[in-house]
Symmetry: C2
Subunit: 388 residues, 2 copies
C-alpha cells in the first residue's frame, strides 16, 4: 500500500522537502524574462554561502557527471598529465572522463573502503612536476569514505597544479570551505545534500582555475564554463535553464540559510554517529573505519546474511530504499544514505526497520539492540552539540 | 529545522498522502459545472463501499461535529426522549447537541477508559420504551476505547428506536458494516482514517432513519438531510461544495479501493498491536484494556513521569505531535494516533522517539525495549495476516 511513499535512504536522489516540491510546482515562466533572471542571479549569489566561496558558482542543467565533465573539459587538453585520486567508482569516473579528453592519466589509489593518503598525492606531485590538474573525490559515494580534501589541497597548493573536487555527495552536508582550503573547482549535484530532484549541477571556480580555463583549447560547447561566466554576468544562462529546479533551489537556499551550515554539519554528524553505533551494536561489519567515514552515507558489510535479501525486505515491508554495492561490491555491502532532508528520527526509523529485515534474512542480530545504541548516540551527540 | 514537516501521530488531523495533496492542488472549478457534478456523484457512490452500505452517503461541508448535529437535527425534536451512550468527551458531545435540540436525554455511561456494555443499553430501552433514538460512539477518541457497536445495535434493533453512530475516528480503519449491523445513521469526518484535511463530514442514512427524518419538524436548514438527498439525486449539493476536498476525496477512494478494506483493517490492528506491545514492554500503564481498545488511537498513562514533558520532547526533538488528555485526563494521559496514512514503520518511528522522550522526562524505561516488543508484534501479526 501507499506505493508512492518510498522512504529514500539511498545516497541520492534524497527526499525533497514539501516546501521545495510546492515551489517547483509553480506555473512555468520564460527563462529569458526578468522574473527568472532575478531569481536565477540571486540563487547563484546565494550558492556562494553553501560553497563557502567568494567566487562564481555556475548552475548548469545536467547531472553531477555533467559537472565533472565540465571541470575536465575546461582544464584538460590532449596530452596533459593529470593525477586522479581514486578509491572507488566515482574516482574511477574522473579517470574515464580525463582519458576521453586525451589526458595522460596518473593515479594514486587505495582499496575500495579505504582513503587516499595526502602523502600519496605529495609523492606523485614530486615525482611528476608536469601534473597540471589533480582530481579528488570528497565523499566516495560507492564506499562511504570521506577523503581528507584539506590535506590533499595542502599538498597540491605547494605546486601550480589545480585541484578539482567532486563534492557531489558531500557539499552542504560536510565541511568543505572552498576558499579557505584553496580548492580550484568544486562540483556538486542537486539531488544529494541539496535536497532537490536530479537535474542541476553546480560548479564553483577559483581565479587560479580561470587562468587555465581561458587558455584551454580543448573542444567543448555545452560545458564551456566561459559561456556560463559570460551569461551569469548578465543574470542568465547560455542555454535553456531548468526553470522548475531553480524555483526549488531558491526554496532550498531558504532552508539552508535558515538552519545554517554549522547546524547542518552537526546534524549530519549526529545521523552518522547514530547509524554507526547501531551497526556496531548489531555486530555487523562497517565497511569503513570511523576516522574516514562520511557523514552522508554508511556502507555495511555482511557477516553471512544476504545483503540483497535485506534490501528486498526493507522495500517490501516498509517501502524503504537503501542502496546496494557498486561494481565488485555488489552483493557484498549495502549503503544507507543520511543526507539532505533527513534527521535523527529518520535514522531511528530506518534502523528499526533494518533490524526486522535482518531477522527476516536470517542474520544473527538481537531486535532492538541497534536502535538502543542509536538512541544513546543521539542523546550523547546532542549533549555535545548543546555544550559546544 | 524542517519545521513544516510535523509528524502527525495525533488522532486527527492525520497525514495526507502526497497523491491526495496533489489532487487537492488542482486548479479550482465551479461547483455547479458538469465536471464537478460527475466527480461528486462518483465520490458519493464510492463512499458506499467504505460505509459498507447500499444506502445514500451524503457529503457535507463541515467538521465531524457538523455531521453529528445533522444526525440529531434530523431525528430529534423538542420533547423526544433519546438515549446517549457516553464514556468520554465525544459521547458527552451527543448529550450537549441533543439537549440543544430540546431532547429529554437519558444516558448510559461508563468511566472514561472503559466501555458501555450493550446490556446497559438493553436495560435502558426496556425501562424507557419511549426512547426514539440511541446515540453511540464507535471509537471514543478521548480515551481510545472502541465500543461494541454490533452488540449495541443488536439491542436497539429489537425496538423501533434508531441507532446513530459517531464513527468519526473509526470509519475506514475499524470494521463497521453499516447495513450488516443494522445501523441507521453513521457519521464520520474527513480528517481521520479518510486521510483528508478537515472540512468534510459524511453521513450514511438508512431507510428506517428516513421514515423519522421525513416526519421530523425540528428547525434546521444547513444540516437538513432532505436537501442533501434531493440534490444528491441531481448529482450535486444544496450549498457550495468544498471543491478541493472533493478532488482529494476521489484520490483517497482510489487508495482505499486499491488496498481494500480487509487489508486496511488488518494494517490498523497491526499498528495497534505494535503500539500496545511496546507500551507494555516499557512498563507504562495502558489506559484501556486490550479487549476494548481501538485500532486507531492508544491512550497511555504515567507511572510518575510528566506526560506533558514527554509530548514537548517529542515535538522539540523530532517534530512529532502526539495528543494529550482531554477534560479531566489532561496531564494524566497522552494519546498516540495510528490511523489513515500510517503503516507499521511509522509505529517503529514514533515508539523509538517516544523512548528517548521518556528518558528525557525522567521515566524509568530501558531504551530499545519498546521498539523490540513492537518489532516482535510486527513479525507475529504479519504471520497471522499471511496465514489467515
Amino acid at each position: 500500500m501507499f506505493q508512492e511513499q518510498t522512504i529514500l535512504r539511498i545516497p541520492g536522489p534524497t527526499p525533497v522537502p514539501p516546501q521545495v516540491e510546492r515551489a517547483m510546482a509553480r506555473p512555468m515562466i520564460g527563462h529569458r524574462g526578468g522574473e527568472f533572471s532575478a531569481l536565477f542571479a540571486q540563487a547563484a549569489q546565494r550558492l556562494k554561502y553553501v560553497f563557502q566561496t567568494e567566487h562564481d558558482v555556475y548552475i548548469l542543467a545536467g547531472s553531477g557527471t555533467g559537472g565533472l565533465e565540465a571541470a575536465v573539459a575546461n582544464t584538460v587538453q590532449t596530452g596533459d598529465t593529470v593525477l586522479v585520486c581514486t578509491a572507488g567508482n566515482f574516482g574511477d569516473r574522473f579517470t574515464k572522463i580525463c582519458k576521453s579528453y586525451g589526458a595522460n592519466v596518473l593515479t594514486v589509489d587505495a582499496p575500495w573502503g579505504e582513503a587516499i593518503d595526502p602523502l600519496q598525492v605529495a609523492i606523485a606531485l614530486a615525482d611528476h612536476p608536469e601534473i597540471k590538474v589533480v582530481f579528488a573525490t570528497h565523499c566516495e559515494t560507492s564506499t562511504g569514505v570521506l577523503h581528507d580534501i584539506q590535506g590533499i589541497a595542502a599538498q597540491v597548493n605547494k605546486t601550480d597544479a589545480l585541484l578539482v573536487v567532486d563534492a557531489v555527495s558531500s557539499l552542504g552536508a560536510a565541511e568543505l570551505p572552498m576558499d579557505a582550503w584553496g580548492l580550484d573547482i568544486v562540483v556538486t549535484g542537486s539531488q544529494k545534500a541539496l535536497m532537490l530532484p536530479p537535474g542541476l549541477c553546480f560548479v564553483g571556480v577559483s581565479p587560479k582555475a580561470w587562468n587555465i580555463i581561458e587558455k584551454n583549447e580543448a573542444p567543448r560547447f555545452y560545458f564551456d564554463l566561459r559561456s556560463y561566466r559570460k551569461q551569469l554576468a548578465a543574470n542568465t544562462t547560455p542555454y535553456t535553464a531548468s526553470v522548475s529546479l531553480v524555483f526549488g533551489l531558491a526554496e532550498v537556499l531558504n532552508l539552508i540559510e535558515s538552519e545554517g551550515l554549522p547546524s547542518i554539519f552537526a546534524r549530519h554528524l549526529q545521523m552518522q554517529a547514530m547509524t554507526r553505533a547501531a551497526i556496531k551494536a548489531l555486530g555487523l561489519p562497517l565497511f569503513t573505519e570511523d576516522s574516514i567515514s562520511s557523514p552522508t552515507v554508511t556502507s555495511i558489510g555482511s557477516n553471512g546474511f544476504d545483503v540483497e535479501a535485506v534490501r528486498k525486505f526493507l522495500k517490501k515491508d516498509f517501502n524503504i530504499a537503501v542502496a546496494g554495492g557498486q561494481g565488485h561490491l555488489k552483493g557484498e555491502i549495502f549503503r544507507i544514505g543520511h543526507m539532505g532532508f533527513a534527521t535523527p528520527i529518520d535514522m531511528l526509523q530506518v534502523l528499526s526497520a533494518l533490524e526486522i529485515a535482518l531477522i527476516k534474512s536470517g542474520a544473527n542480530v538481537q531486535l532492538g539492540n541497534g536502535v538502543r545504541a542509536a538512541q544513546i548516540a543521539y542523546l550523547q551527540t546532542q549533549e555535545v552539540t548543546t555544550h559546544a
